[in-house]
């Protein structure tokens, strides 16, 4: 009865093919589905005598139409795109925070310095002083809210990382399960096409979360590596864990291990880049900016005078962690340098002012040492507060102190034997600290004796100028020495070789100790989020140090403050504060732009890969339709064949006796 065999096999084959076509059509829009085709082969022939007769058709396999290198390329592209997209999403948030459509930090910095420049035109105007302090508060608020924006982005990234890692773990688990199923099905020699599709789909989902490498193993199983460790091997998976370490770095580890994995690609890869590199970098730059601004402004404020003149009490606002350790190991945000501090003490009853220089060496001196050094200055006393690590300076009753570095009212006349009293005046406009020594050449009476002169030398002994104080000099008239300093001699005698001297101070605090300890500074705190304007200043804008002389119309210190605006303080002395911030905005914008370009090209590549993949594995209903017709025809023909064979056999049977039939 071998005649029926080929017919039956053809019927079977056509039925199988039709059901595969049905499957294809049903899954035409199923994600991850690969077109399946039936492989038809001739059945083994039957040997009849010396003739080999075919025995019909066999469905040898139903195969997925798949191009494995292409699938790998899609997987790789998936995690690259996910990486880029994750970074881009976060960076766009950072960009919006840095440069909102109105009121960016850029404007606040500009506004602050512009208001100071305006105040310089009317230094005693209390309204404008309040405006300056208002803009300073706005500036600190902007710094602090920017900082909190960045912290929020960082926290959001942490939450996403945590969720994504959970997703990775569940995907890995399902992939491992499918591996198990595939293995058992494959062991029976059957192609588990549907499970394979499902697993490949899950692997692509996993690649969206994290960069993966997929290695096929026996029986259609795969080993999946993520971050260099196998997360799926056979039917078992390894869970990953997200954590933040002590130095505030986010890390992914294998559960139970503390070694951070190096993750490349996927959402996790992108988020980790943002979390551990981009955000800290932006935050550091902002902190540097805020710190530099605060430090510079504080230096000027601390070495000037407000409208009410010298202070009788000042309490530091920046504490050291230790009273006894050297200052450079005392945890100060603005560490002082080796240098000097000039302390002016004014006798309030006479107006007489002294100027004393104190040397500060942070490598050897502790806060207590600085306090004792300050206490050696007559009529003031400095004490330390062990609770807060701060320094407090107070004047004895009837005295007041300041750090504006004005020359003493009386020069040092220990080397002067004549009767003509010298007096120093003017405002020193030089850039460095110096000491002018005046020596009388010739002996006689000031204003009378011919060829009576005063030779002026600087601290280095270099001649500055020579002034006539003899005939032709009207005693008591101010003579210009240099850099805004004037000298006058009252009528009287001056003897050859007589000297007097005065320090002239441009930088009363070269050590930066006032800023380091927050004594009479503009700001409290050092970096966001705890940068703030000194509350005393906000309550009393007249304390804003507009001058060095204390005169209400003197704007010398405001001009110094305004000059901070144009000083190249950042990026190794190449950028001003505003330029520094602008550069940061530009940096982030460039990164966003690069990521956008990268994303666009990755999307284009992804699209191309999808098209190629579809071209191989996609379902074309028309094609299936044609195949459907084709196999329908086969089925009809096979049926016709069987009917024909049956009819043929029927005629034979009719020949045979009924008993046989």
């Amino acid at each position: 009865m071998s005649l029926l065999g080929p017919g039956v096999s053809a019927l079977n084959a056509a039925q199988t093919a039709l059901s595969v076509i049905g499957e294809n059509l049903a899954n035409a829009n199923t994600p991850g589905y690969h077109r399946q085709v039936v492989d038809l082969t001739e059945s083994d022939p039957t040997q009849i005598g010396n003739i080999s007769v075919g025995s019909g058709v066999t469905v040898s396999d139903t195969r997925r139409q798949i191009d494995n290198p292409l699938e790998t390329a899609i997987t790789n592209q998936t995690y690259s795109l996910a990486d880029t997209t994750a970074q881009l999403n976060q960076l766009q948030q950072v960009q919006t925070s840095l440069s909102p459509s109105s009121g960016s930090l850029h404007d606040d910095i500009e506004q602050f310095f512009n208001q100071i420049t305006q105040l310089a035109a009317q230094p005693s105007d209390t309204t404008q002083r309040a405006v300056v302090l208002g803009s300073a508060q706005q500036l600190t608020t902007a710094f602090n809210s920017l900082n909190s924006d960045l912290t929020q982005v960082s926290n959001g990234v942490d939450a996403q990382l945590s969720n994504t890692v959970a997703d990775i773990n569940s995907l890995a688990q399902r992939i491992a399960q499918l591996n198990g199923q595939i293995q058992s099905v494959s062991a029976r020699g059957v192609n588990p096409n549907d499970q394979l599709d499902q697993r490949d789909q899950l692997i692509n989902q996993l690649a969206g979360d994290i960069g993966v490498q997929v290695f096929p193993t026996d029986l259609n199983q795969v080993t999946v590596l993520a971050g260099g460790v196998p997360v799926v091997v056979g039917n078992s998976s390894t869970a990953l864990k997200f954590s933040v370490n002590s130095s505030n770095q986010a890390q992914i580890t294998v559960s139970g291990s503390t070694t951070p994995l190096t993750i490349v690609g996927g959402q996790v890869g992108g988020l980790l880049t943002v979390r551990n590199q981009t955000l800290p970098d932006v935050q550091n730059q902002l902190n540097t900016l805020a710190g530099t601004l605060a430090q510079q402004v504080d230096n000027v404020q601390a070495t000037g005078l407000g409208l009410s003149g010298p202070s009788t009490f000042l309490a530091g606002t920046r504490g050291a962690t230790s009273l006894t350790k050297p200052l450079n190991q005392a945890g100060l945000a603005f560490p002082p340098q080796a240098g000097s501090l000039f302390v002016s003490v004014t006798d309030l009853s006479t107006g007489a002012r002294t100027l004393t220089q104190i040397n500060i060496d942070p490598a050897t001196q502790s806060l207590n040492d600085v306090a004792s050094a300050l206490s050696t200055v007559p009529n003031i006393q400095a004490i330390t507060d062990p609770q807060t690590g701060t320094l407090q300076v107070l004047a004895k009753p009837g005295f007041a102190f300041d750090f504006a570095g004005q020359p003493p009212t009386a020069p040092d006349t220990s080397g002067f034997t004549g009767t003509a009293a010298p007096q120093i005046g003017g405002q020193y406009t030089g850039t460095g600290n110096d000491k002018y020594t005046f020596q009388v050449v010739g002996s006689g009476t000031v204003g009378v004796t011919a060829n009576l002169t005063l030779q002026v030398k600087d601290a280095g002994g270099n001649p500055v100028t020579t002034l006539n104080i003899g005939q032709g000099y009207s005693p008591g008239t101010a003579l210009t020495v240099a850099n805004g300093v004037t000298v006058k001699l009252a009528s009287g005698t001056a003897n050859n070789g007589d000297t007097f001297s005065t320090p002239v101070v441009a930088q009363p605090d070269t050590a930066g100790i006032l800023t380091a300890l927050g004594l009479g500074t503009f700001f409290t705190g050092s970096t966001p989020p705890d940068l703030a304007v000194q509350p005393a200043l906000v309550n009393n804008p007249s304390l804003l140090a507009g001058s060095r002389s204390g005169d209400p119309g003197d704007n010398s210190n405001l001009l110094r403050l305004a000059a901070v605006h144009d000083q190249p303080l950042l990026a190794n002395g190449t950028q001003t504060l505003t330029q520094g911030f602008d550069a940061l905005v530009g940096d982030v914008a460039t990164q966003v732009q690069q990521l956008q370009t990268q994303q666009t090209s990755q999307q284009a590549i992804g699209h191309q890969l999808q098209v190629q993949q579809q071209s191989i594995s996609g379902i074309d209903p028309n094609e299936e339709m044609v195949n459907l017709l084709n196999f329908q025809r086969s089925f009809q023909i096979a049926s016709q064949y069987i009917s024909t064979v049956s009819a043929t056999l029927n005629s034979l049977i009719q020949i045979l006796p009924a008993s046989i039939a």
Partner: protein
């Protein structure tokens, strides 16, 4: 290999293209509605930086513009104030000119003095002018009235010696608050003029006294060369008016009695006076009215001849509060204990006591010269009419000088004002330029945007239309 195109591919293509085009359309729409090409820094990082720096420049120029307005207000106020001061000084000059004529009656001079007094008050008021709560002529001490008048009618300066400069552009400043001395107290000290009868002359040293002063030359003691037996009389210390080193004045004694009982005595060749040995306080006057008091009780018998006189005295410029002994040998520094100012006197030729007038030429400030003029017109020194007229005319030169110096400041401030205007104009030009630049970099080209929108819209329509056409093709349509 030909690609197999499945409906999924068509759909994916259609979706991708439609999304891309809608996205472009949305961007263009946002550009059109905001007018900005750069919506986010990442749209054009370089352009963003340029816009940021241009805007910063613009904002800063706004402030400089305001500062310039502030400086202009101060300087304008100052120029008009000083112009008024100039007018008042011109009036004072007019009065001085009138007062220097000898035809005035004391009454009219008094009236002129009163007018000068009101001018002085007017100038003091103007010198204390405030602009927006700030004194214009006190330098950095801008909150204190710079000039006050004391009970004696003297004007003192309470301001600072430091002028105020305001920032008006990057690296440029303008002086707005002048110090009082810059405007009202400019000195061009010349040689002082000493007028009087004492023989005192201006010394070689340089003075620091200003304005009008009085040199009081007083007598302290007289001594006679030994031999004649003549002694200073009892009123000598207070009454002698002669001064000079030994020999500057001489006494000629002739003992006519030969016993010292009586004779004649003569001072500097003046009238001959008889004496007796009972005179203890004999007043003798020389030809010019110089006076000595003698004690002739012990004239050497038979003495006949001349006796050299040494007569010492003191100098004072503060009305005798402090005195300096005269050394008759050249320059002497005399200090005013009230002001600390010094006056140099050449005492070599001082021969007589008296009060000399010191005119510190070129060292009058506005207030001093007005005070001097007022007092001279009111004749507080009780000068005879001709001398009063001369004294009034002497003030003219000083009035001229202070008038010029005030007008010089007006000139300086006017120059500053025109400079300010130029700077302001420049600032406005730069602002216009930066605004244009910002527009160029940041602004969207609206026509381009609109055309772009139309283009994208067409493309989107084409995409959707073609997708709908392709997707509607199916073999099923042709099977029966």
């Amino acid at each position: 290999m030909e690609l197999r195109i499945t409906p999924q591919v068509t759909v994916a293509n259609a979706i991708a293209n439609a999304q891309n085009q809608s996205n472009q359309l949305a961007i263009l729409q946002q550009q059109a509605s905001t007018g900005n090409r750069i919506l986010q820094p990442s749209d054009d990082p370089l352009g963003t930086l340029q816009v940021l720096s241009d805007q910063a420049q613009n904002d800063r120029l706004d402030i400089y513009h305001q500062n310039i307005a502030d400086a202009q207000a101060k300087l304008n106020s100052s120029v008009s104030t000083l112009t008024q001061v100039g007018q008042l000084l011109a009036q004072a000059k007019q009065l001085a000119l009138q007062g220097s004529s000898t035809n005035n009656t004391p009454g009219s001079l008094q009236a002129m003095g009163d007018q000068v007094d009101s001018i002085l008050n007017g100038v003091v008021g103007l010198a204390n002018t405030q602009q927006n709560g700030v004194y214009l002529y006190g330098g950095t001490a801008s909150q204190t009235a710079p000039f006050t008048v004391n009970a004696q009618g003297q004007v003192t300066y309470n301001g600072s010696t430091q002028a105020v400069n305001e920032p008006i552009s990057q690296g440029q400043q303008v002086q707005t608050l002048y110090t009082g001395s810059q405007v009202f107290q400019t000195l061009q000290r010349g040689a002082p003029v000493i007028t009087g009868t004492t023989g005192a002359a201006a010394g070689t040293g340089t003075d620091s006294a200003t304005g009008e002063g009085t040199l009081t030359v007083a007598h302290t003691s007289t001594a006679y060369a030994p031999g004649s037996g003549v002694q200073p009389g009892t009123s000598s210390a207070s009454g002698d008016t002669i001064l000079g080193p030994s020999g500057a004045h001489t006494l000629t004694i002739v003992d006519t009695s030969g016993t010292g009982a009586s004779g004649t005595v003569q001072l500097d060749g003046g009238p001959t006076v008889n004496f007796t040995n009972t005179d203890t306080n004999l007043q003798i006057q020389g030809a010019n009215g110089q006076t000595v008091f003698l004690d002739t009780t012990a004239i050497a018998p038979g003495f006949s001849g001349s006796v050299a006189i040494t007569s010492n005295g003191t100098l004072s410029v503060d009305g005798g509060a402090t005195t300096t002994p005269i050394n008759f040998s050249g320059n002497q520094v005399v200090t005013n204990s009230q002001t600390g100012d010094v006056t140099n006197i050449d005492s070599t030729n001082i021969r007589q006591t008296g009060s000399d007038d010191i005119n510190n030429a070129g060292a009058y400030d506005v207030f001093q010269i007005l005070t001097t003029l007022r007092d001279t017109l009111r004749n507080s020194q009780n000068l005879p009419p001709s001398q009063q007229a001369t004294a009034v005319s002497q003030t003219l030169q000083e009035l001229d000088r202070v008038h010029t110096s005030v007008l010089t400041v007006v000139g300086q401030q006017s120059a500053s004002l025109s400079n300010l205007q130029a700077v302001d104009q420049h600032i406005q030009d730069v602002q216009l330029q930066t605004k244009q630049q910002i527009g160029n970099v940041q602004g969207a080209d609206i026509s381009q945007v609109v055309i772009g929108m139309q283009e994208q819209q067409n493309l989107l329509q084409a995409t959707l239309y073609s997708a709908s056409r392709i997707l509607s093709l199916s073999l099923l349509d042709f099977l029966k």
